[in-house]
Amino acid sequence: MKTILLAAFMACAAATAWADPPQGYPFVDYNAGLKAAKESGKPIFLYFGRYGCAWCDHTNKKTFSDAGLKALYSDNYVLVYVDAESGKRVTLPTGERITEAELGVRLNAFATPLFVYLTPQGEKIVQIPGFKTVQDFRDYDRYVRGGFYKKQTLLEFLGGKS
């Protein structure tokens, strides 16, 4: 019993010690996400995080803890989590097989977290680095699902929102 309690405590301690996908969200890996997006027609929200990343942890606690945001993104996106330093293999829409870390090279990811919105076919719509608020993510959602990305850059869209 003591061993079980210790293991449970360690699991809980570990879960709060590093940055992973925000709790309670249905994040899946890249390959599963791409398949699900093609089947469902939903856009992909790719969270490019890093094990132990402080700003990822901050974003999870401050922003992704919002229940409304959780519902908005869980219902309308295929949620994909990628570990910036992982050797786990992913297959790009081109058919090329690379690692999760190499995906960071292709995205020129210079900081984590990095948030990437993709079409259901896996084509990049926009990528946004760093900590963002609940309202930021609501704006990005309108930009992506509203189809504004087809005519405007994100900066143009955000500049005209008020």
Partner: protein, 392 residues
Amino acid sequence: MRRAGLLLLALLAGPAQAAWQWDAPLEVSTAVGPAIFPHVESANRQGLAVAGGTVGVVWEDNRSGAPRCYVAYRPATAPAFAAEADLSAGECYEPAIAPLDGAGRFLAAWEGDGAVWVRALPGGNPVRLSVSTAAQATLATHGNQAYVAWAEQAGRFKRIVVAALAVDGDAVAVRVMRPIEAAAPTDEQAWPALAVTAGGDVVAVWEDRRHKHTVPYGSRASAGGLDFAPVARISDQRSGRVDGLGAGLGAMRPTLAPWGADGSVAVWLDKRDFLSGYDVYAAFEADGRFGKNQRVQDSFGDNMSQWHAKVVARGDRLVAVWDDARDGTPDVWLSTWTGEGFGDNAAVPAAAGPGEQGDPLAALDGAGALHVVWLDRAASGTRVRYARAVWK
């Protein structure tokens, strides 16, 4: 008067600066096409080696419809690489190659069917090394010593295992095989690199997540055995939360080469400046202790990510290579150790300019020549290319 003028000109010109002088580049892979994707990544970025003047290159691509590994050779007197041969029969990932002797023979290791394999080249048969699920094989050879390391499943996580090999002609057998640490891993260990020092000791470095972020770790075993000393971090950055958040800074893909009288040198990607992507850092090791970390890239590489770093060393020559996009598109860069620090960065001429050139591999041969392989990406296909340089 004329003689005095020439003397003055000579004095003004100063001493000529030695630099790498490059031969014309060569193609390595014969399979190029818009849907063929070659990859040269491996633990310690070890897809290039030189044995007795013969250059050996291994890589993986999908020309057959599945990931398979290939090997191509360029004998010392040949003007080009010979057509590649299969390295293994089935699916294959992240192959590594190391010189076996002065007669153009090599040792290769790779991941296939969830296990790590090794074979002598060009004639040997594959030998399975790992017991459980394993990946990320790397090699180190020195005289008649040959070692392989990899990451192997041990319960919930992978840990680093090292094997000492006996090579007799084309036959390869395991002499000793053991994990660097006897205790079960408490988090993932990955991407090992090995070096055999001039005195015959074995040094290992790897990615380690025991502190809940990725930290390059290292250890050393005395010549003749695989009894590794207690492990220690090679990064001089501390683990820990920042304002109660996260667990520490990022680092990845340590590479390693023997260096000096009886030491080694590690180079890895390091995110201690977390706003400018990964930077290239180095640390010199002696007696199992890694010293103060040094930044390798110069200031012209600030404010952008460096990728795919690799260190090679031989004699008094030490070179680090990587790619970054400081000139607008990814190019291959290198820095040569000056004796006091890492020198100004120089682009590899054939791997710089318009387009994307990256993923460098490197090797130094016994004569001090530098060999580099890289990927040249274009819409028409990605090419595996090679160039050689001499220092003069």
